[in-house]
C-alpha cells in the first residue's frame, strides 16, 4: 500500500511538471488558436540562455530577467514573421509553421550557445526525505509550489486585469473581440511572451533534473496527452490533465508493465487520452460549440 | 389531401432557451408550405429538426406514414427529405456538376471497391447519376456553370446549385431555408418561378422559409406563422393575411 501511495505521489509530482509544460500550449492555443509545437524548443532555448548567463556569472534574478526579455523579443518576432503572414490560414498550416519554427529556435540556440550539456543547480537539494515510509524530495515540493503559484498568478491576471479580460474575449469570439477594438497582434505578442516565461520556468525545473540539453525540447511530447485530457483551452485542465497522466503513467508502468514485460508509459498516456476523448470529445475542461447551418 | 409531414408537439431548446415550443402542424402532399415569422422565431431550427440535424427534446415527427421521435440526417435523406441551407452549405471546392452528383448519394448502391475499380454496379450507377444530374442542371439552367468550381460563382447561382443538389435526388419533401435570401427582386421572381415549376413538374412537396411576405403570399398554398417557437397562425394565404394575431405579431412589423 505504501508502495502504491509512493508511486501515486511520485506520479502526481511528475504530472505537475507535465502540466507546467502544457500550460504554455494552452495559453497560445487560447489566444491564437495555434497548436504551438515550438513550445518545446522555447523551453530549451530559455533554459540554455539562462544557464549560459549564470555560467558567465550573472546572478539568478538578473539571468531570469534577461532571459524573460529574450523570450518577449522571440514572441514579438514570431508574431511579426510567422503569425501575421499566416493569419486566417488553416490550423494545420499554422501547426506545421510552428514545427518549422522549432527547427529555427533550437537550431539558433545551439548555433549561438553550442551543444554542450549544462548542469543547472537551482540550489534546491533533490534528496528524498522519509516521511513515514514515503520518500518525498524537497525539490518536488518546491517545484509543485512554483507550479501552483504560477497557475494562481495566471488565473488572477486573466480574471482581474484588462489584458486578461480581452484575452478571454479573443478566446471566446475572435471576431467579436476585434469588433470591440481589441487588437489581435498585441494580444498575440503578450500571450506568446507569457508562454515564453512559462517555458523558462519549465526549462529551469526540467533542466535542473536532466541537465540543460537538446532533449529538453522533447518534453513537448509528454504534454500532448495532457492537453487532450485536459482540453486545449483550459489552464486548470492542463494541471488536472497533467496529474492524471503523471499518476496513471507511473501506476501503469509498475502494475501493467510487468504483465507485458516492458514499460508502457510511452503510449499509455495516449491510449488513455483517446479513451477519454471517446467519452468527452472536448477533453475534461475543453469547450465545444454546436454546429450552425 | 393526405398529409405527407406531420409535427406533433415538437419542442427544442438550446441551453435553456426554447427554440420550438410544443409545435404542431401538418403539410399536405404536393403543397407548397411557407414558414414565416420574425428572426429567431425558430424557423431554421424547425427544418433542422425535421431532417434530423437537431434532435427534438420532445414530440414526434410523422413522415410518409412512419413516426419518429428523432431521425438521423442520413435516414431522413434516404426517406426522401431534401434540404437546402440558409447559409451557403455547398461543397465549395467541387464543380457544380460534382455538387449535384453528391446530391444523388442516397441512390448509390455500389460498394466503394466497385466504385474505385469501376466494375459491378458502378457502371450503371455512373450513367444513371450522370443522366439525372444533367437533367436537373438543364432544368435549373446551370449548363454554362456545369464545370465551374462553386466557390467562384455568384451568390444567386450558388443558391440555385444548392437547390439543384437537393432536387436531384427527387425527394418527396423539399425543405428550402430562405432560398431567396439576399436576392434582388428579379432574382427572387426567377427563383419563385423555379420553385413553382419544381412543385408542378416533380410534384414535390415543399416547405420553405422566406421573409419577403409579398413573395410568400404569391407562392405558397399554405402558410404557417411562427413566433418565439410557437405557432401563431396556420392556413391559406388569405386566412393568414386576415388573422389579427398575425398582423399584430408579424405583418405589422417591417422586415
Amino acid at each position: 500500500m505504501a508502495y502504491f501511495l509512493e508511486t501515486l505521489i511520485a506520479g502526481l509530482f511528475a504530472g505537475l511538471m507535465y502540466g507546467l509544460v502544457a500550460i504554455g500550449f494552452v495559453l497560445i492555443y487560447k489566444a491564437s488558436g495555434v497548436f504551438n509545437f515550438a513550445q518545446g524548443a522555447m523551453v530549451f532555448l530559455a533554459a540554455l540562455v539562462f544557464v549560459t548567463l549564470v555560467e558567465h556569472g550573472a546572478n539568478f534574478w538578473v539571468a531570469f530577467a534577461l532571459t524573460s526579455g529574450l523570450m518577449v523579443l522571440t514572441a514579438v518576432a514570431v508574431e511579426a514573421l510567422v503569425l501575421r503572414p499566416l493569419r486566417n490560414r488553416d490550423p494545420l498550416t499554422l501547426f506545421m509553421a510552428t514545427l518549422g519554427l522549432s527547427f529555427v529556435i533550437d537550431g539558433a540556440a545551439q548555433f549561438f550557445l553550442g551543444t554542450d550539456v549544462h548542469m543547472l543547480d537551482l540550489g534546491i537539494d533533490d534528496i528524498a526525505e522519509d516521511y513515514g515510509g514515503l520518500f518525498i524530495s524537497w525539490f518536488d515540493i518546491v517545484a509543485s509550489l512554483i507550479v501552483v503559484a504560477l497557475v494562481a498568478v495566471l488565473g488572477i491576471v486573466f480574471s482581474r486585469t484588462r489584458m486578461g479580460v480581452s484575452l478571454r474575449a479573443v478566446a471566446d469570439d475572435t471576431l467579436a473581440a476585434q469588433s470591440i477594438g481589441i487588437r489581435l497582434p498585441v494580444i498575440w505578442r503578450i500571450v506568446w511572451s507569457v508562454a515564453g516565461v512559462v517555458a523558462l520556468v519549465a526549462g529551469l525545473l526540467w533542466g535542473a533534473r536532466q541537465g540543460v540539453q537538446f532533449s529538453l525540447s522533447l518534453v513537448t511530447l509528454k504534454a500532448l496527452p495532457v492537453l487532450i485530457i485536459g482540453g486545449f483551452s483550459s489552464i486548470p485542465g492542463a494541471i488536472v490533465g497533467g496529474l492524471i497522466v503523471g499518476a496513471s503513467e507511473a501506476l501503469a508502468d509498475i502494475y501493467l508493465g510487468p504483465l507485458v514485460d516492458g514499460s508502457v508509459s510511452t503510449w499509455f498516456a495516449y491510449i488513455l487520452a483517446v479513451a477519454f476523448l471517446l467519452v468527452r470529445p472536448a477533453g475534461l475542461f475543453g469547450d465545444r460549440d454546436i454546429e450552425r447551418v | 389531401m393526405a398529409s405527407l409531414l406531420e409535427l406533433v408537439d415538437v419542442s427544442l431548446s438550446f441551453r435553456g432557451v426554447k427554440a420550438l415550443n410544443a409545435l404542431s402542424f401538418a403539410v399536405a402532399e404536393g403543397e407548397i408550405c411557407a414558414l414565416i415569422g420574425p428572426n429567431g422565431a425558430g424557423k431554421s431550427s424547425l427544418l433542422n429538426v425535421i431532417n434530423g440535424v437537431y434532435r427534438a427534446d420532445s414530440g414526434d415527427i410523422v413522415f410518409d406514414g412512419s413516426r419518429f421521435e428523432a431521425i438521423r440526417p442520413g435516414r431522413a435523406a434516404r426517406l426522401g427529405i431534401g434540404r437546402t441551407f440558409q447559409h451557403n452549405a455547398l461543397f465549395r471546392r467541387l464543380t457544380v456538376r460534382e455538387n449535384v452528383l453528391a446530391g444523388l448519394s442516397r441512390h448509390g448502391e455500389a460498394s466503394f471497391v466497385e466504385n474505385i475499380f469501376r466494375f459491378g454496379r458502378d457502371g450503371r450507377e455512373r450513367t444513371d447519376f450522370a443522366g439525372r444530374a444533367d437533367h436537373v442542371i438543364a432544368f435549373l439552367g446551370l449548363e454554362a456553370e456545369r464545370e465551374r468550381i462553386v466557390a467562384t460563382l455568384p451568390y444567386g447561382i450558388q443558391k440555385r446549385v444548392d437547390l439543384a443538389r437537393a432536387l436531384v435526388s427527387e425527394p418527396k419533401l423539399l425543405l428550402l431555408d430562405e432560398p431567396m435570401a439576399g436576392m434582388n427582386q428579379d432574382e427572387k421572381r426567377d427563383m419563385s418561378r423555379i420553385i413553382t415549376e419544381v412543385n408542378r413538374a416533380f410534384g414535390t412537396t415543399i416547405v420553405l422559409i422566406e421573409h419577403d411576405v409579398g413573395i410568400v403570399l404569391g407562392l405558397a398554398s399554405h402558410i404557417v406563422v411562427l413566433d418565439y417557437g410557437r405557432k401563431v397562425a396556420d392556413g391559406t394565404p388569405e386566412a393568414v393575411r386576415n388573422d389579427p394575431d398575425v398582423i399584430a405579431a408579424y405583418l405589422g412589423t417591417v422586415h
Binding site: 518549422g100 495516449y270 476523448l277 | 465549395r92 435526388s169
Partner: protein, 355 residues
C-alpha cells in the same frame, strides 16, 4: 479565387474534361512513364538512384497516402509513419513465415493489414475533430514502435530488433541492385498513382471531398459520413503500408521500430502541406523538398567552405535554422503548395494547345 478553381485539377472527372485536355493528360502520362522507366534508369547514377531518387519517390508516395486522407477526406493524422511500420513489419513476417509468397502478394497483404489497423485507429474520427483527432492519432505513433520493440517476435528475435530486407526478387529477377530497387519502387508507385486517381475520381472520392467541404450538408444529402471516414483511413493506411515496405526494404534495406518515428510522420505532413493539399503529383515536389534540402545545404557548406568562419557544429545547426526558415517561408508564400508550380506549367501547356 481562381486558385481554388484550379486547385484540384485531378479531382475533376476525367470524362468531363474537354478532349484537348484529355489528350494533354494522356500525353503527360506517357511522358511520365517514359521518363520514369526510360530516362531515369539510363541516366541516373547509383548514387542518385539509391540516395536521392528512391527516397524522394517513396516519400512522395507517403505524401499521396496522407493526402488522400487529409486533402480529400479532410481528416488529419499525425501517425502516418506508424502505419508504414505496420506495413513493413507485416511484409517482413509474411516473407519470413509464408515461404514462396510472391512479392506483389506480400505488398498487397501488407497494405491490407495496415488498412485494417488504420480503420481501428480511425475510429476516434467518428467522435472528434481537429487537433483532438490529430493528437489522438499520435496514439498509433507511440503504440506501434513500442509493440515492435517489446515483442522481438516481430523482428524474428534479431539482436538489434531490426528487420532487414529479404532478398527482393520477382519472377526470378534479382531486385537487390540500386536499379532493381528503383524499378520496383517506380512500378509500385506508378500503380498506386493510378489507383489514387481512380479513388479520387470515384464516387468515394467525391463524397470524401463533400464531407471535407461541408460535413453537415453531406450527411443531410444521405452520404454515409462515418463509413466514408473509416474508408478514408483504410485506403490511406493501405497506401502507407505499402509505402512503409518500400521505405524499409527498397530504400533503407533495413528497418526498426524507430525508423518510422514521429519525425517521419511530421515529414509526411510537411510533404502534403508543402506539396499542396488535394493534389497527387504535388506530393513529389514536397518529397523532393524534404529529401533534397538538407543534402543541398550540406553541399553548399562544403562548396562555400565557410568552416573557417565557425566550427562545423555551428554550421550544421545553421543549416537546421535555414531549413526551418524555408519551410515557414513556403507555407507563407505558396498557400496551395508547390503544386501551384505544376498547375501553372500545365495551365501554360493547355493555353498553348488552346484547349
Amino acid at each position: 479565387m481562381t486558385t481554388i478553381q484550379d486547385s484540384i485539377p485531378e479531382a475533376g472527372p476525367a470524362e468531363a474534361l474537354p478532349s484537348g485536355a484529355t489528350l494533354l493528360q494522356i500525353g503527360l502520362v506517357a511522358a511520365g512513364l517514359v521518363i520514369a522507366f526510360g530516362l531515369v534508369p539510363s541516366l541516373a547514377s547509383d548514387y542518385w538512384l539509391s540516395s536521392i531518387i528512391i527516397p524522394t519517390v517513396v516519400m512522395g508516395l507517403a505524401g499521396i497516402s496522407l493526402n488522400l486522407l487529409q486533402g480529400y477526406a479532410g481528416l488529419v493524422s499525425l501517425g502516418s509513419a506508424a502505419f508504414m511500420a505496420v506495413g513493413a513489419f507485416s511484409a517482413y513476417n509474411l516473407i519470413l513465415r509464408v515461404p514462396g509468397l510472391p512479392l506483389p502478394a506480400v505488398l498487397l497483404l501488407a497494405g491490407l493489414i495496415a488498412a485494417v489497423v488504420g480503420v481501428f485507429f480511425g475510429l476516434p474520427a467518428l467522435r472528434i475533430k481537429g487537433f483532438y483527432l490529430a493528437a489522438s492519432t499520435l496514439g498509433a505513433q507511440f503504440f506501434f514502435p513500442w509493440l515492435f520493440t517489446n515483442y522481438p517476435w516481430f523482428s524474428n528475435n534479431s539482436q538489434s530488433l531490426t528487420i532487414s530486407a529479404p532478398r527482393l526478387e520477382f519472377l526470378g529477377y534479382d531486385l537487390q541492385s540500386p536499379l532493381g530497387r528503383y524499378l520496383l519502387v517506380a512500378t509500385v508507385t506508378a500503380l498506386l498513382i493510378g489507383l489514387a486517381f481512380l479513388v479520387v475520381r470515384s464516387r468515394l472520392g467525391r463524397e470524401w471531398m463533400a464531407i471535407r467541404d461541408m460535413e453537415t450538408a453531406a450527411s443531410v444529402l444521405g452520404i454515409r459520413v462515418a463509413r466514408r471516414k473509416l474508408q478514408a483511413y483504410a485506403v490511406s493506411s493501405f497506401f502507407l503500408g505499402i509505402t512503409g515496405v518500400l521505405w524499409g526494404f527498397a530504400y533503407l534495406g533495413t528497418a526498426d521500430a524507430h525508423t518510422y518515428n514521429l519525425d517521419k510522420s511530421f515529414q509526411i505532413l510537411f510533404i502534403v502541406l508543402i506539396g499542396g493539399t488535394a493534389t497527387i503529383f504535388g506530393n513529389f515536389l514536397g518529397a523532393a523538398f524534404i529529401v533534397l534540402t538538407p543534402i543541398l545545404l550540406d553541399h553548399v557548406v562544403l562548396a562555400a567552405n565557410i568552416a573557417y568562419l565557425s566550427d562545423q557544429g555551428a554550421i550544421t545547426n545553421l543549416q537546421r535554422v535555414i531549413f526551418g526558415a524555408i519551410i515557414i517561408f513556403i507555407l507563407i508564400k505558396e498557400p496551395d503548395g508547390l503544386s501551384a508550380w505544376i498547375r501553372r506549367g500545365v495551365g501554360a501547356l493547355r493555353a498553348r494547345l488552346g484547349r
